[in-house]
Amino acid sequence: MTAIQESIQKRAAELLESGEVTQVIAWTNGRFTNQTSPLFIQNAADAGKIVFNEYCVNTLAKYVLNEKIAGKVGVCVRGCEARGINRMIADNQLKREEVYLLGIPCEGMKDRETGEALDKCLTCTHKNPVVYDELLGAEVTDTVSEEIDKVRFAQIEAIEGMSREERLEYFNNVFNSCIRCYACREVCPVCTCRECFVDQLRAGWQGKQNNLNENRFYNLIRVFHIGDRCVECGECARACPMGLPLMELNRKWIRDLDELFAAGEEGLSDELDNTLGRYKTDDIEEFM
């Protein structure tokens, strides 16, 4: 890891020095032990601030969107960031030439409080970046996909196993706990609308009250909007200050689309091909 950290520092300095990029996005140490936060540097001299350790929990992809206006952005990409970048290119929010991708193989990050592996890293299917300009460090081996899938879908299968009343109560608790801070939206590389539906004033759209109905509406429509595009970076659930299991909503959608329409994983290419934006005439039928 220290080797990778040194490589990032070196390459960041070189890229900034040469003018290839105007900015580099990486991580740096936070105020607390084992805490990191995203870092934005414009000067080669600041490259020394870059940190890469097992506590770099933030997925950096979404930050690119705000920063690209000043010029080409260099950004560290692991599997999760790379798929986010692909997603944003597919959604026409970013052009490939607007970013310089410093690829980093990643074995997974840890929670700074518990020292345990992060939830979102336990279900990671792409430890190596799927797109990059240069790879810093040797590729690591991905866990066998069947084994990952057991973990990936374990929670939703458990929920599906509950009775309807239990599920209702479970999710009513989740929705009741939501404070609608929209952190999940802010970090999501799929949430790239200029004005989110929740911020618009429209009759029958998203109400502004914080109650069970409106919170359910927000969470279910959020999933409807991102479900067929989700790259499973898990950043929404990680960012949620209420610790809500948001990936249990996303993954339900992901697995259903997989089973029904062979959707496959998102963010592996930068072409727009959403599962809900295409159809087959022999799609499975259940509404006759």
């Binding site: 309807r164 009513n172 359910r216 509406f217 799609d283």
Partner: protein, 173 residues
């Protein structure tokens, strides 16, 4: 009007004369004309359903379904052309994918499957329209009123949307 007020009162007090409110989104080209044909043939079905005409089932946004349920309908039915018969080539295929996934999501989060149903009904299937509507009404009647938010339910029953009389000039932006 007195009839409606009576049933409404009954519904909110939870007695056995609960009359469900069902909203049916119907594609103009098939189901809506199938519903017209049901009228033409003087078929009879429960008065609990209100048909909302849309040009195509592909126009039905899942947001409408959630909003309708939140605002006080007890069940939502979305009807479109049979796959392959869409007046607009493909609208119902998109609707099918969206609504299949959305319906699973609603059930996953605890909604009774009967409260949100989708059916393909062609312009000639007046009988199917009648039967579908009748069965949805019966199923939802059995489930009882939909209370999406127990804490808010009382409030919704009493006030709903009469609070919205202020209307701007014209409609569109």
């Amino acid at each position: 009007m007195s009839v409606v007020n009576d049933t409404q009162a009954a519904a909110s007090t939870g007695t056995e004369t609960f009359e469900p409110k069902i909203l049916a989104f119907a594609c103009h080209w098939c189901t809506y004309s199938g519903a017209d044909l049901a009228g033409l043939n003087r078929m009879s079905y429960p008065a609990n359903v209100r048909v909302l005409r849309v040009p195509c089932s592909g126009r039905v946004n899942p947001q409408y379904i959630l909003t309708a349920l939140n605002k006080g309908v007890d069940g939502v039915l979305v009807c479109g052309c049979h796959p392959g018969d869409c007046h607009y080539v493909s609208g119902n295929y998109y609707a099918k994918r969206r609504l299949m996934a959305f319906r699973r999501m609603l059930q996953y989060t605890g909604l009774e499957p009967e409260r949100f149903q989708v059916r393909w009904i062609s312009g000639s299937e007046a009988g199917k329209f009648r039967d579908t509507v009748t069965s949805v009404v019966e199923q939802v009647r059995e489930l009882g009123p939909y209370k999406p938010d127990p804490a808010l339910a009382a409030l919704i029953d009493s006030s709903v949307d009469a609070s919205n009389p202020v209307l701007p000039e014209g409609g569109e932006a």
